[in-house]
Symmetry: C2
Subunit: 349 residues, 2 copies
DNA sequence: TTGTAAGCGTTATCAG
DNA sequence: CTGATAACGCTTACAA
């Protein structure tokens, strides 16, 4: 209850009968401390309940013991994305046991993404960054490099990068979805893609196009901003076309669920008249009717591996490129055999 | 490109021909600096591109210029909750323009919630906390107090608290939902509630019970953990009962959407046979079929007000209790007139 | 193996 | 109004 000032390294040194310097050495277990002294020092520290001051340490070492995650997407779009929470939990799994903390910054109306990076760096608030939602020709890589900090990117950049990366081959997930649908007899499949400025959205779209072409299936790609609203809109457009697809591969679960709503509204039965697949395998998707067939990635593992990789980079390790296990297609109820061609359209040409 | 060390306050002082102390005074615009000197000092700082070192400042003032948000819920439950992203965006709206940062910590399998608070505090990594998901008899209040830090709670605690709070009267939202349903002729309404250890979940449940009783409507409450899975399970139980409700008020949108899935699966038409309401007004709910009637709160505004309140508290303001504007019921398609009593059940007693 | 002393970049104190 | 000087709590040469 008393406002006793916390003990400092000097208190420990005095109590152990050694110098401050030696306490520091003992603490960071560096060579050159006799077992005897080390024991006495640790003992004294324990008795005093001393923990080294991060601030003192920070000032003298020039490190922050913190990593930054800047969220650039608009909060309205991101609010719906369950990926982040699981990913962040994964980061924390590692950071929390390594004395690191996670600084979360969001670009706001009054502050652009790059300013956010600059601010965190110029205040020396972080030692490194996690770069998510990699974009084509992503300026953040050169930015972080110029800031003399390190980073780990989620996915391989499409440009030269000095940083480690941790990737998931989500193209494989899309390919399984297309293969699954082709096997069910679908000959006209659409893809509702995310923004093509985002590398992973583009990679999924490319994988879709290639897989569909390889399976000799007619295909279309519609681009969206990943939101439920645009997912719904894209679905309406597709279903209203002259030759509507019999299956739609969505680039995330939210758009797939919104698409399901659109289909139901039009009286189109899923999966009888239309098959749909999602991406992310969200909990909610499993409880809709029909339950959503979706590509499952392990966001939490992605987080732990990313954190470890960043810590290694901070410790001076050479850049590495980690490839996580391939995402798996979880088949549920929203995909089924292609409908017979008779009932709808098609007699026009 | 050269590794020039960044300028320090001493450099600025030298260049301006004054002492370090005066530079500090000028910077923090404190009285006792002649306009002339101040101008010279700011000029010198600008020329040198000097920014005060947060670390030096931190060591000397004992402040961190950071606030912490500890997430205690399991990531699997929270991953689905869109509230957090919008709320965090709101916090950032304010923090980003106040030189504060947000430290996000998650309780992990290896580290309990209280240890997380303790760790952040003992490392002096934050000056204050945002306490979310307030629980009955919440230990975190005494904890933060004993840590000699400040905090802002989301909602009023049910115990004595020295901290400011920012609340939304979500009971009002639930009451509108019940009133809306009663007006539509529903005489048997259920509530799928969140964990009753969480104050806001309990408040919603209480509001439900009172409103239903006041409207002389039969009512039941089923408790869940807020997840889609338990929301679905609760719905199955309710619909399988001898006297199933004709309307269900869910404590969040995710459970409502899962409940909708369950109803559809059972061939129960919404809103013809069953009306449902959600809470949060998520984007996705708007795109389902039927579009979800839901209670809308402004999470982002909650964030900005919370951040401002916390900043005030850090500046030494007396605790205040802010009440945000009442949430509004957004009526969409998932609620409709109560079904006629004939078709289902009811002829048994 | 250990002690000494000089930083790290602020803010605070207190005579001028 | 000014300007030394001393904290703040640590790390790290350099000496001993």
């Amino acid at each position: 209850m008393s406002d006793a000032p916390r003990p400092t390294i000097a208190d420990v040194a005095r109590r152990a009968g050694v110098s401050k310097g030696l306490v520091s050495f003992a603490l960071n277990d560096r060579p050159g401390v006799s077992p005897d002294s080390r024991e006495r020092i640790l003992e004294a520290a324990r008795e005093l309940g001393w923990t080294p001051s991060l601030r003192g340490r920070s000032l003298s070492t020039g490190r922050s013991f913190a990593c930054g995650l800047v969220i650039g997407r608009s909060p309205d779009v991101i609010a719906a994305d369950p990926f982040f929470h699981s990913f962040i939990a994964g980061l924390e799994d590692v950071f929390s046991t390594s004395g690191q903390i996670l600084v979360l910054a969001a670009a706001t109306p009054g502050r652009h993404e790059t300013e956010t990076y600059r601010g965190l760096a110029s205040d020396r608030r972080v030692d490194g960054f996690v770069i998510t939602d990699l974009r084509a020709d992503d300026e953040r890589i050169a930015l972080v490099e110029s800031l003399r900090l390190t980073a780990v990117t989620l996915g391989h950049p499409d440009i030269e990068s000095p940083f480690s990366s941790v990737s998931v081959e989500d193209g494989a997930g899309i390919r399984s979805a297309v293969a699954h649908l082709a096997e069910l007899g679908h000959r006209r499949i659409a893809h509702v893609a995310g923004p093509q400025t985002m590398l992973h959205a583009r990679r999924r779209a490319d994988a879709f196009t290639q897989a569909a072409a390889a399976a000799s299936v007619e295909h279309v790609v519609v681009t969206t901003d990943f939101s439920a609203a645009e997912g719904a809109e894209a679905t309406r457009t597709l279903l209203a076309s002259d030759e509507p697809p019999t299956a739609i591969v969505y680039s995330n679960d939210h758009m797939a669920m919104a698409g399901l709503g659109v289909a139901q509204r039009l009286g189109i039965r899923v999966p009888l008249d239309l098959s749909i697949t999602g991406f992310d395998d969200t909990e909610l998707g499993r409880h809709l009717h029909p339950a959503l067939t979706s590509v499952a990635t392990d966001a939490r593992e992605w987080g732990t591996v990313t954190a470890r990789t960043l810590l290694d980079a901070l410790a001076g390790a050479d850049p590495i490129h980690v490839e996580l296990s391939e995402p798996a297609l979880i088949v549920r109820e929203s995909t089924g055999p292609a409908p017979h061609p008779h009932p709808r359209g098609g007699s026009r040409d």
